[in-house]
Symmetry: C2
Amino acid sequence: MHILITGAAGMLGAKLARSLVTDPPEGLSRLTLLDVAAPQPPVGAPVPIVASTLDVADPSAVAARIAKRPDVVFHLAAVVSGEAEADFDKGYAVNFDGTRALFDSIRALPDYRPRVVFASSIAVFGAPFPETIPEEFHLTPLTSYGTQKAMGELMLADYTRRGFLDGIGLRLPTICVRPGRPNKAASGFFSNIIREPLAGKEAVLPVEEDVRHWFASPRAAVGFLRHALAMDLEAIGPRRNLTLPGLSATVGEQIEALRRAAGDEAVARIRREPDPVIAGIVAGWATRFDAGRAEGLGFRAERTFDEIVAAHVEDELGGTVGARG
Amino acid sequence: MHILITGAAGMLGAKLARSLVTDPPEGLSRLTLLDVAAPQPPVGAPVPIVASTLDVADPSAVAARIAKRPDVVFHLAAVVSGEAEADFDKGYAVNFDGTRALFDSIRALPDYRPRVVFASSIAVFGAPFPETIPEEFHLTPLTSYGTQKAMGELMLADYTRRGFLDGIGLRLPTICVRPGRPNKAASGFFSNIIREPLAGKEAVLPVEEDVRHWFASPRAAVGFLRHALAMDLEAIGPRRNLTLPGLSATVGEQIEALRRAAGDEAVARIRREPDPVIAGIVAGWATRFDAGRAEGLGFRAERTFDEIVAAHVEDELGGTVGARG
């Protein structure tokens, strides 16, 4: 089984690649890791790895990679929400045309119908929302990124229905705790207020504690992707895009989980700096989903924010909270 | 006000053009009628009319038309469902890429933000359905045509949000009674069983009488388009695509309306020839919608099938049922 990952240098792509190397799925024979900058291949791989550059906005480059006929394609490459909003053309070129080029490259090859796991997002939904967003809620994205992902979902379902590929679209929750440095995403603070205090650093909280959002850990996200690799896709039926399970938690609940893990001293490192712009953006985000269909298909997320904090401590901090006061 | 219509040679486009000529909206100064074959311009127009060819799948041709900066664009051009299913490439080229080329041509012009009325379809929805499909039901089309229309809707909303155009998407019910000859569309019988008997001809009914579907007359459809021309689009909010009102009726109810209009003799011209293939296709179609949002915005359809039959008799048969026994 040859697995190809686009966006393999991203946070999730790199974690997926590492997972596939340390715990290889049965039959794994080859791994191709692609991104705009060549990904760092994980060490100790039991199978040949190609780690190389691919700009998904370049259709001939995409076709050349697909010509190797990978059995499974994880399509994670994307321009993030803020960049897709700032650069309209680039967002459509990468997030939409890149996805279409991938699907059309697959369609162009005879006797070829790979599994395609498409990373979608809860950004396909847009406010106003009911308190819990049902499985059958319509897609009315309020960003270009969400629009591009929704269009990708529609194509994925149509190309699957036509037999060109065997697709599954995964609407990932907001990933938290994101490792690495604080980034400029409006959602960044959800991770910053946990990660930075755990590392002994200050973090800025721009919203009120009653703000509620929908989370899964990076570990859970890798679990989603691995499950999409292993499961029987026929069981999904024609509605190939799934809202994945997550944890609905408030910022206040996040902070209390941090306190239980690392004490008052860690919580004291959160500095409240209300930002009406960020508060306004976040007010339009989803707070809670019914993900019963994905749960019925075996997808699993954390059930408490303590589990999310624990996953971060174990996976990123070697299992101990060094900064505990 | 310069109004441009794509698909102006189609049934709906031609009726819209005629309506704009016989009952011109205030400020109408120019009409451009475009289709793959040049439309027949309506006679007696009070303003200059250009009737010409346009293949919407040709981006430079689209841009040349948009360079004239029409104030309003009715985008009706499309490959129909059956053809989009039979010819995958053509369906995406016309229905999706053509729509995108139109939107991008508009976006490319500075200081230009025309009203764009996009003809979408209830084909953006796919079974299984609840008995009444709510406003917020998700889009899971089961045809390539429906997929392309849904992708167009998403772009329309995003391009509107970004300020490139001022869009409204109209999910038209199945148009009934369609004038003209019987066509090969799976939905054709809904019109055939009314139109043909009224003209003294035989019609084939391939499904049971309890089959229920969602209808509006051609007259109501022109009314929808004219309303979308006149209304305040800001009132819609960011969810710019509307499920339009229609009439939910069974085939049996259609037949009884025919009987009331034209007697038993007309009904006797319906020949029952059950076709399991057509019955299977139709079983996946929507039967009833909540269209409260569009109704609240002033869109109106027929409330009984008798009104639909009467509209056909008045608009296509000069007001009398010639074949009445």
